[in-house]
């Protein structure tokens, strides 16, 4: 999955600006963190591993749930493409 080309992503502000529609999306903290990892060319599995390691969670399922929810939301908003 990759960010669509018409988007400007700014991690510092937690925003995405869609230049084709002139629409600004504000990200929540989790979404911003996941999108930053994606923007750094990490795969879905790598993102999960990085977050599990960062938050020192033994149970992966919660992280997977967060990531899946975020990806779903990004796709709905037209932020990501395959």
């Amino acid at each position: 999955m990759k960010l669509n080309n018409n988007l400007i992503y700014r991690f510092e502000d937690g925003i995405i600006f869609d230049t084709s529609q002139g629409v600004l999306h504000e990200l929540n903290e989790t979404g911003n963190e996941i999108l930053k990892l994606l923007d750094e060319n990490n795969s879905y599995n790598q993102i999960i591993e990085i977050l599990v390691s960062k938050y020192n969670l033994s149970e992966k399922s919660q992280i997977i749930e967060f990531v899946d929810e975020a990806f779903e939301s990004f796709k709905e908003k037209g932020i990501l493409h395959e």
Binding site: I8, R10, E12, D13, I15, F17, Q21, G22, V23, L24, E26
Partner: protein
């Protein structure tokens, strides 16, 4: 959205108000005299320093405008320096000074798009506000940039004579090989404030213009993408929609030839100057200016807007227009 961003995404830099034309609607036309121009444009060294700062601030897009930016002192030196940074660089010009040499430089310095003003599909409509002997020179300029492969945006100011012909203008633009069409409305500023009767279409005429454009087959089939003013709305049913309204001071900032920073180019009144890059960093002005804070805090969002069911669509309209009109609403207010 009133969030204060780390830095704006878009900067428009009016490098000079000098211009080879004397358009009767120009917001800065009154400043296009030797007396004013003598005092403008900060030195090139400082411009270069600010460009370096803008890169550090992760500005996405830098547009050079004016006046006529091709007449700015050291323009190509500035452009050359900007081209070494990670910006999307664009230019807004009247097109009459574009020749093979300028286009070669645009390509060399990585300009990604050039906005050229064209106000009619024929000489009479265009020259009504731009002046004599401008139409064919502009067309030549457009053709040269199109042939170079650089993206061209045609910007048309809707005026009293051309408002009925936006669809014809749209077809003409397609025939020139351009597929981006920016529609602009005149604000009662500068030269326009002296010529309102001659040039300013009425509220109804503006709607009529957009309705005709909306029915244009090239627009319907998306062969021509229409870019409406930032505050425009879904009521036109044009696909181009902006749910954030005016981005002035929030997503974007303007630098004028004197080095003054404002939320948008049209806020020329001294009350809205947030600071000057001659004596402050851009970052400091953007983050700490009291003027910006006031501006971002829903400046003049009056009771009427607060209660309006359409406020989420129009996002309070053009704030510069609201300020200029002193009547809170924009000239395209959709409220009942």
């Amino acid at each position: 959205m009133n969030k204060k961003l780390f830095s704006p995404l878009f900067i428009c830099w009016d490098l000079t108000y000098r211009c080879n034309l004397k358009c009767i609607h120009c917001f800065c036309g009154e400043l296009n005299t030797e007396e004013y121009i003598h005092n403008e444009q900060i030195d090139t060294k400082r411009i270069i320093e600010i460009i370096d700062e803008l890169e550090k601030l992760k500005i996405y897009s830098l547009e050079f405008a004016g006046g006529e930016p091709l007449l700015a002192k050291s323009f190509y030196e500035i452009l050359n320096h900007a081209s070494t940074k990670n910006f999307k660089i664009s230019l807004a010009t009247n097109g009459t000074l574009i020749n093979d040499t300028t286009v070669d430089k645009f390509k060399k310095f990585g300009i990604s798009s050039v906005q050229i003003s064209l106000d009619g599909h024929n000489k009479d409509l265009h020259e009504y506000i731009r002046g004599r002997n401008t139409f064919y020179r502009t067309i030549e300029g457009i053709k040269k940039v199109v042939d170079s492969g650089i993206q061209v945006i045609i910007a048309t100011v809707v005026h009293k004579k051309n408002y009925k012909y936006l669809s014809e203008i749209a077809n003409f633009i397609i025939s020139l090989g351009v597929n981006l069409f920016r529609v602009q409305f005149i604000l009662p500023l500068g030269m326009a404030s002296h010529n309102e009767d001659m040039i300013m279409p009425s509220h109804i005429e503006k709607y009529e213009a957009l309705e005709k454009l909306n029915k244009n087959i090239n627009v319907i089939e998306n062969k021509l993408k229409v870019i409406l003013p930032c505050f425009y709305n879904k009521k036109t049913e044009l696909e181009n929609q902006n749910s954030n309204g005016c981005g002035a001071g929030i997503l974007q900032a303007n630098i004028n030839p004197y080095g003054e920073i404002t939320a948008c180019a049209l806020l020329t009144n001294k009350d809205w100057v947030a600071g000057n890059i001659k004596d402050s960093s851009f970052e400091d002005i953007w983050r700490n200016s009291e003027v910006f804070n006031i501006w971002r805090n829903n400046y003049r969002l009056n009771v009427e807007c607060k209660d309006c069911s359409l406020v989420d669509i129009c996002s309070k309209g053009c704030r510069a227009m609201a300020y200029l009109n002193d009547e809170f609403k924009t000239s395209l207010c959709l409220g009942e």
